[in-house]
Symmetry: C2
Subunit: 284 residues, 2 copies
């Protein structure tokens, strides 16, 4: 496995890779969720590239950029074990943003809701770094996780709108045995917060069960979810949403594929999770 | 010469081209200015691609999108004569923007001045279509004209900031014998307006002569230019500027490479032009 620290070094190594090339961009501190995406890329592609870069522009000044967990040596070991061919791990100090950087990729409509509403500059940073990485890595396939559902929609739209010749694949959310979605930010949780956190997934499972049982009124499902989460006092809901799975417009009635998503604070840690509802799941 | 109407058709033909590939994006209605850019690409590259697309998103609703001159048959004839290998000429009706298009490339700082100040959504449209065309054409070299000086700076910044692996080349402005910069929009001018229009270039030549003579005070040069243009009553100045040639910040003193640029209306037609001043030109 080769590790490139600069764009020039990366491009020289990238030119030697057999195609098709699969790409998994990450911010490091890897867990089973990331590794499941690497395995998807491995299955579909002759070569696999991963990137590790804690992208500063997707953090607001008030957020956890400085505290975001990092462990490059361990990350590289995990990626090598998964048969990754080439890792792009630019130095954060030098970074990927030139002095006077002034180019931003924006999706004003799709990012006005949910995570974008809670974190107004987040997706501008995500879309910009992903466009940069696509131009550096030049992959045939890019793999993202369903855990960041809105991000996956943003990247899918970006690929289509800017005509990137890249196939997008979304891997399912990987969970701890108690249902908590894997996240690098789970490392922040105190033992008490960690014990309370699975209520988020339980509320999503409950939404799924209600929908399967025939409930189509979003407000009924949302009220039940909030009541369930309220049983865990350490968990402070930021939003719970049932939205069109493609446009993210809030739904009154679940009459099409829907994304049930939420964000919550546990102490200073912010977690997100989601499940998809298909109207035809009612009969299963 | 092949002509592709769709992205899929284009990509299939593009895959057959020998590299390096040079690219000249245009909005058609070609003149010697465009053809000079094609010749630059031809000299440097094994294959040359041109595109012809009147990009709607760089026109404001009040501007001349519907009236913009078009002559595809003549354009293709001219490009074939210059030895272009492949032309991308998507149907305007179908266009390059999918339903629900929501991805925009923005350069908020560099586009806040000059043309960007006069045309607030113009460069968002330019940067977005250029990013799309770069991803469709995948060129090694892209050639733009100095006539659109701010556009050239915007594209150079976009290439650097988004890590496009593309060499940018800027070709000099091509002029009519009386100095008027070639532009597809010159076709709009009445005979009287056409006769008055060269005063714009004369004012730029005057600025150059003053700077060569040692004048460094921008306000003195600008006042002289405005007085000269005012001798042509058909020509209404929108702006005249002397700015840092890289950042486009207005200069009081010409102590570094400077861009002297202007925009003016002649009836309903809006023309732009510019010259570069190098401080060391004073001694030549």
């Amino acid at each position: 496995m080769d590790v490139a620290k600069s764009i020039a070094e990366f491009r020289a190594l990238r030119a030697e890779l057999a195609g098709p090339v699969g790409f998994v961009p990450t911010m490091g501190y890897l867990h089973e969720g990331h590794l499941s995406l690497v395995r998807i890329a491995r299955e579909r592609c002759a070569s696999v590239v991963a990137s590790i870069f804690v992208n500063p522009t997707q953090f607001a000044p008030t957020e956890d950029l400085a505290d975001y967990p990092r462990d490059l040596d361990r990350d590289l070991e995990l990626l090598e074990r998964e048969g990754v061919d080439l890792v792009f791990a630019p130095d954060e100090g030098v970074g990927l943003y030139a002095e006077g950087h002034d180019t931003w990729v924006e999706l004003p409509n799709l990012t006005s809701r949910l995570e974008g509403a809670s974190r107004p500059t987040h997706f501008r940073g995500v879309a910009t770094i992903v466009a940069k990485l696509f131009n550096i890595v030049n992959p045939d396939v890019a793999v993202f996780g369903q855990k960041d559902a809105q991000q996956a929609l943003v990247i899918r739209r970006l690929i289509a709108d800017l005509d990137f010749d890249i196939e997008m694949v979304v891997g399912p959310t990987v969970r701890e045995p108690d249902g908590l979605a894997m996240s690098s930010r789970n490392a922040y949780l105190s033992p008490e917060e960690r014990a309370a956190a699975p209520v988020l997934f339980r509320s999503l499972e409950h939404a799924k069960a209600l929908a399967r049982g025939g409930e189509r009124r979003a407000d009924r499902i949302l009220a039940d979810m909030k009541a369930l989460i309220a049983t865990a006092p350490l968990v402070k809901i930021q939003y719970v949403s049932i939205a069109d799975a493609h446009t993210l417009e809030e739904l009154d009635e679940i009459d099409r594929p829907a994304l049930v998503s939420l964000a919550a604070h546990l102490g200073t840690t912010r977690l997100i999770d989601n499940v998809l509802l298909e109207p035809n799941q009612e009969s299963t």
